[in-house]
Amino acid sequence: MISETSQVPVEQLARKTGWEVKAQGACRGEQCVPLPAGALHDGAVDLPAFAQRMSMPLLHDADHGLWSLGPQGGGRAMTTVQAPDLVLPTLTGEPFALSALRGKKVLIAAWASW
């Protein structure tokens, strides 16, 4: 997730990473990680504290004022079999949610022009 600030509203965090902040901590699928007190301020997560707690890398490009929060490291690429609520644009730019296909079997076919 790319951010221009180190404080990210919890809604944005959920939309961009799938991690939802709940009473018990940051949750995705069956997984919940309790958050330290310093990781939340006024409905926003503090990226450095959040990243450290979640074992996620946080890169900072000071020249461009950008933060990049990566996925959890130290395990495997997938930590839950629940498909994330991935939303990507169609060729004409409308948002399309993977969850719109619930009720059907889905083959996600990853390809590229290059």
Binding site: M1, I2, G18, S55, M56, P57, L58, L59, D61, D63, H64, L66, S68, L69, G70, P71, Q72, G73, G74, G75, R76, A77, M78, T79, T80, V81, Q82, A83, P84, L86, L88, P89, T90, L91, T92, G93, F96, L98, S99, A100, L101, R102, G103, K104, K105, V106, L107, I108, A109, A110, W111, A112, S113, W114
Partner: protein
């Protein structure tokens, strides 16, 4: 998975396509599932549960792998500019482990039989078969995302720095490398910006190891 966006992808999508086609410029499929090469397939069931993690997913054998480039009629039918490239690339592509027939048969079995299909894996197997993600690879995903974002902003020099960092952190990720190379040179040849290029890296890796074989042994 294309930083070139809809503009790059659209020419490859038939007008009468019957399924949703979406653009993953930031390679979210890499971040979320561990996709590191294309084509890759992920199976998701009716409840939104992943039943096979990313694996090589050729729908058919690439047509150019079977072209007889010693046949004058075949060569005459191709654009002249493509023939030399095909002669160079074809032997490597022929060595790659691509088993579309078995993969498509397994996919059809799952479509017909659902969770009774032996190819629909248990949750434990799905997670176990998904790619390992050591700390460096998580960092590579964050670096790649910065590169892609900066590229989108027109900050080409800065994007190269982060793309290079993603390559350093995860040298065996083909999507990071091929994407970055192609933004400089569509044929992914040697460039000043990057240390690798497609042909040299395939030679170094060995064409037979370009794709991991798909494990279609029924587990139950």
């Amino acid at each position: 998975m294309d930083a070139g966006g809809a503009e790059a992808a659209a020419p490859f999508v038939p007008a009468d396509v019957e399924f949703p086609v979406v653009v993953d410029g930031a390679h979210r499929l890499g971040e979320l599932f561990g996709v590191a090469n294309v084509p890759s397939g992920i199976w998701v069931d009716e409840q939104g549960v992943v039943v096979r993690p990313p694996e090589t997913a050729y729908p058919a054998r690439p047509a150019f792998a079977a072209l007889d480039l010693d046949d004058a009629a075949v060569v005459a039918s191709l654009p002249a500019s493509a023939v030399d490239r095909l002669r160079t690339v074809q032997p490597f592509v022929q060595q790659m482990q691509i088993e579309p027939e078995a993969y498509v048969a397994a996919l059809r079995d799952w479509v017909a039989r659902g969770s009774d299909s032996p190819y629909a894996l248990s949750a434990e197997e799905v997670l176990e078969r998904s790619a390992p993600r050591p700390v460096e690879q998580a960092q590579a995903a964050a670096a790649y995302a910065l590169g892609e974002h900066l590229h989108g902003l027109g900050e080409r020099v800065a994007s190269v720095r982060w793309f290079r960092e993603s390559h350093r952190l995860q040298p065996d990720n083909w999507t990071y490398r091929r994407q970055a190379w192609s933004l400089v040179d569509p044929s992914q040849g040697p460039t000043q910006e990057y240390d690798g290029d497609w042909l040299s890296d395939v030679q170094r890796t060995g064409a037979a190891d370009y794709y991991a074989p798909v494990d279609l042994d029924p587990r139950r």
